[in-house]
Each structure stands twice: as C-alpha cells, then as structure tokens.
Amino acid sequence: MTSTRARAIGHAPLHRIALGPALVIAAAGLVLVMLVSACVGAVTVPLADTWHVVLAHVTGNTAGLDPATDQIVWQYRMPRVLLAACCGIGLSVAGVVLQAVVNNPLADPYVLGLSSGASLGAVAVIVGLGGVVGGVGTSTAAFLGAMLAIGAVLLLGQQRGRLVPTRVVLAGVAVGYLLLAATNYLQLRANPNQLREVMFWTLGSVAGATWDQLGLVMAVVLGSTAGLLMFGRRLNVLGAGDEQATALGVDVRALRLGLLAVASLLTGVLIANAGGIGFVGLMIPHLMRLTFGVDHRRVLPMAALIGGAYLVAVDLLSRTADAPNELPLGIFTAAFGAPFFLWLLRRNQSIGGGT
C-alpha cells in the first residue's frame, strides 16, 4: 500500500495530463517533424512549398507543381521520412508490448533473436552467399532470418505447451548469440565495401527508402499498431501476474502468444526494410512510462506518436550532421537517446519497485 502510494506521488506531473490533448499535440508534432525533415537537405525547400507538394499528392491534384521541388520532396525525401516514421512507430509500440508480455523491462523488439536472425540473413546476401539462400534480396533474407529465429525462440521458450516469459527471454538471448557467431564468421570473409554495407545494415538506415517498399511497410505498421492499441487494458491486467490476470478474465496463454506473434511480425518487416535500428524500442516505451504513467492505454498511443517523431528527427540529424555523408541511425538513436533517458531516470524517484 505505502509503496503504491509512493509510486503514485512519484510520477512526473505529466502523468495527470489528459490523454486527448496529449495525443493531439504529439500527432501535430509528428506531422511537423516530418514536414521539416522533408524540407531540409542538400537543397532546402521552404516549409510552405513542402506542404503544398504533400497536399497536392494527398489530394491527387499534382498538376502545376514545380517538377524539381516535387522530385526532391515527394520522390526523394518523403519515402525516407515515412519509413523513419514507420520504424519509430512500429519499434516503439512493439517495445511496449514485448516488455509487458515477457514481463521484463529490458525487453526490446530485438531481444527475442529477431535482429540476429535478420542480420544473418542480410549479411549472408551482402557477402555474396545470396545463391545459398535462394538468390533473394537483402530484405527478404533478413525477414526470413528474423522469422526463423523467432520461431525457434518461441518453440524453445515453452514448457508443457505454455510460453514461459523467462524462458522466452533466455532462449532469445541464446539463439541471438548463436546466430551472431555465424554472422561474425561471415563478416570475416567480407571485403571492405561489403563490411561498410554490413555496418550500415546492422546499425539501421532509411536512406534507401522507395515508394515501392512503403506500401507494405505502412500497411503492416498501421495495421498491427492499430491492432495492438486495442490491447492496452489487457496489458495492464497482465501486469498483475498471470494468475491474477486469469482471474480477471484474460486468457493469458492466447494473449501472450498472439501479441508476441504480431509484435515479431511487425519488427521483422521493419528490420527487413531499415536494418537493426537499436535502442528506440527500449527507450521510447520507458520514456513514455516515466512521463505519462504506466497505464498502457496511455503509453501505447503516446509511444507510437513520439517514437515516430523521434526517429524522423534522428534521421534528419543522421543526414545533416556530417553532410554530405550519411551516418547510420543506430549511432544517433543511442547517442542522443541514452543521455536523455539517463537524466530522466535520475530525476524520477519512482523507478525501482515496479518496472
């Protein structure tokens, strides 16, 4: 009792903010960051012109646009902005869900061996073993690798036909190391150019985004995010422990398996398209809990919007900080995220008892 009260008092003031206004502000922030990101680059396009181009495409009335501006904003920058947003949204939401489902604050979208599986698939193709895996592209190989890894982890994480959170996490870590060993071996055989490509892939990048790939990515991200958002209340109940959650009407077994499957599919698609962007899926969920309280009905939508905005901003930095060179996203997600996260952790006294 005392600890519950202490926690309640220890929450940051934002905990009391009504969800509605917070969502509106965050959504507006996301749109604004995306527009700004589409403005900035080697050629800076004024915000108004960018807005004009986007609006024209959304309404389908593209006649009379300046072809050069249209090319830069819509063909070149918009795909990567959207892919960055999708990655931010998807990884953050998957992170929230996984942490709740395996009941482990250290869980992130990659903890279940997904990224190691994807890396192995991608690296195999990059170093020229594409023939071995059937001549598929990097993305497909990465996706297949991720799905095989998670499949193995979910099989190994069972005990008497039931997923046990601790076992799932441990199996994920073990499978991850195993696949990493194979990946490292392949890297030894790579030439410097291939190594650079491998590095970009493992640290994540949205530089190569095209409209062609976005249809699938956006459908998966929006679909699964919308689906996962419905489970906020159930995730809260799951936090009371498996037994109590059952008594509160939750089919724990089905819920855990279903949510793991959706979160894994979501993460797999993102990894396949943008590589292993680390730390977002760990940091954004905790950031949201620290600022808005642990109620998943608040945390999930806020994580989606803020996570999306964060990764769009990080992508902007990654291509302007050292222009005209591009830097991998993973460097920035950690370099900017970690200190901020640590500061917040220090400031907030409520961490310790619970997640």
Binding site: T4, F231, R233, R234, G241, T246, G293
Partner: protein, 250 residues
Amino acid sequence: MTRLDIAGLAVDLAGVPVLRDVDLTVEPGCLLGLVGPNGSGKSTLLRTIYKSVRPLAGTVLIDGDDVRGLSTRAAAQRTGAVLQDAAGPGGLTVAETVALGRNPHHGLLTRESMSDRDAIDDARRTHRHDTVRGPSGHLARALAQRPRLLVTDEVTNHLDIRARFEMLELVRGLGVTTVAVLHELDLAARCCDRIVVLDAGRVAAAGPVLDALTPEVLHDVFGVHASADRHDDGVIRIRYDAKPLAARGD
C-alpha cells in the same frame, strides 16, 4: 445470491495428483473458510473456481452453470479473486489498479461506461475504510468486478492484527458468497459460517465450525492438540494444549 457446488473434483498438476473426490457446497451469502496444512490443495481448489486450471474430473457449478462451459472472461464476470502475494501491476495508481476489475466486463473496444464508474467508486468506498493498512487495492479491484462469488487466498497474511479483523469483517459485511482460504484457524473459527478442511487433496471434514474443527481433525490433519469451543460471548475460539505438538505421523 449465488451458490457454489463442487462435486467429484479431481485435479492433477504436472501429472501429480493434487485434488481427489472433492465435494463442496457454499450456500448463497455464506462465508466458507477453507483450511488445511501447506500443500493440501487449497489454492488449487480456488484455481478451479476462477478457471485457471482444468479439472481432470468433476464439476464446478456457479448457480448451476458449469464453469467448464464458460470462457475465461465469462468466468471472471462471475467470480472475483484476491490472490496471495498478488504483485501490484508495477506503478499503477490505486485508482488504476481498482479499475482493472472492470476488465472482464469489457471487450477490446468498449469504453468505460457509467456502470463501470459506479462499480469502481463503490469498490473504492469500501476500500477507503483502511487506506493505510488493509488489502491495498486488491480487494477493491475484485469488488469492482461486481462478483457474484468471491474467492480469497490468504489475504490476511501480511496484515497486522487489527487489519486482519477489519479485512474479514469487511468481507463478511459484503454479503457476497465467499470462499476464503485462511491459514489461521483462530480467524477462520471466529469469522466463518462454515469450514472445509482439506488434507492431502481430500476433504477431511466439512460443516459448521464446531463440527468441522473437532479435536480429532485438529490432531490428525494439523498435528496439534487443541479444541475449538464456543465461549460465553458467542465467539468460537481455538484452545491449544500446553504441549500442542502431536507426534509426527501418529
């Protein structure tokens, strides 16, 4: 008012028999104390009621409805459970914890309604009796379920003596049909309408307090020399002998 009828219940956990031939009836509005040594199957019996384990044989009927035919959610609409050492969902406020009790009454997309608000407010009013001591939000959460049947598993364990009495008083006052697993025989004898004694997965004795907690049962099941008596003030107390320990296995 709700009645509970359990008949011929048998449960195995991981291949090990835990309950056998358990028959048990709780009349509407009755507070039943479920007692027995550690490992006698008390918590497992409760688990069959809130549908966390599937019995090998036998039936659990709530107002005549077999829980086997109910979904987890439908079962939770009928039965509220307050479990032993239930972890508070990390960092939820008391209000949020209590609100979890409405979960069984919600689909994935339904929003909180007026009746949810009422149930939560009522539950918290009950809870306010003992804001500092007491069962924290867990009993209130179960009450927010608006359960027809309440099961509690050693909820008095970590409470100080006053809070224990308050807790049981509170549960009694609800008038909801209740099965309470209790460790302390004194508390069970004093507060419960009827007692069921479990021993190694079987019902060793059942009935009104004085009929169930006989010196023989106390000796054979609990291994102590003691007797339960109704005193002049109407309260049933357990009196332990000067040397309460019975010889092991005798």
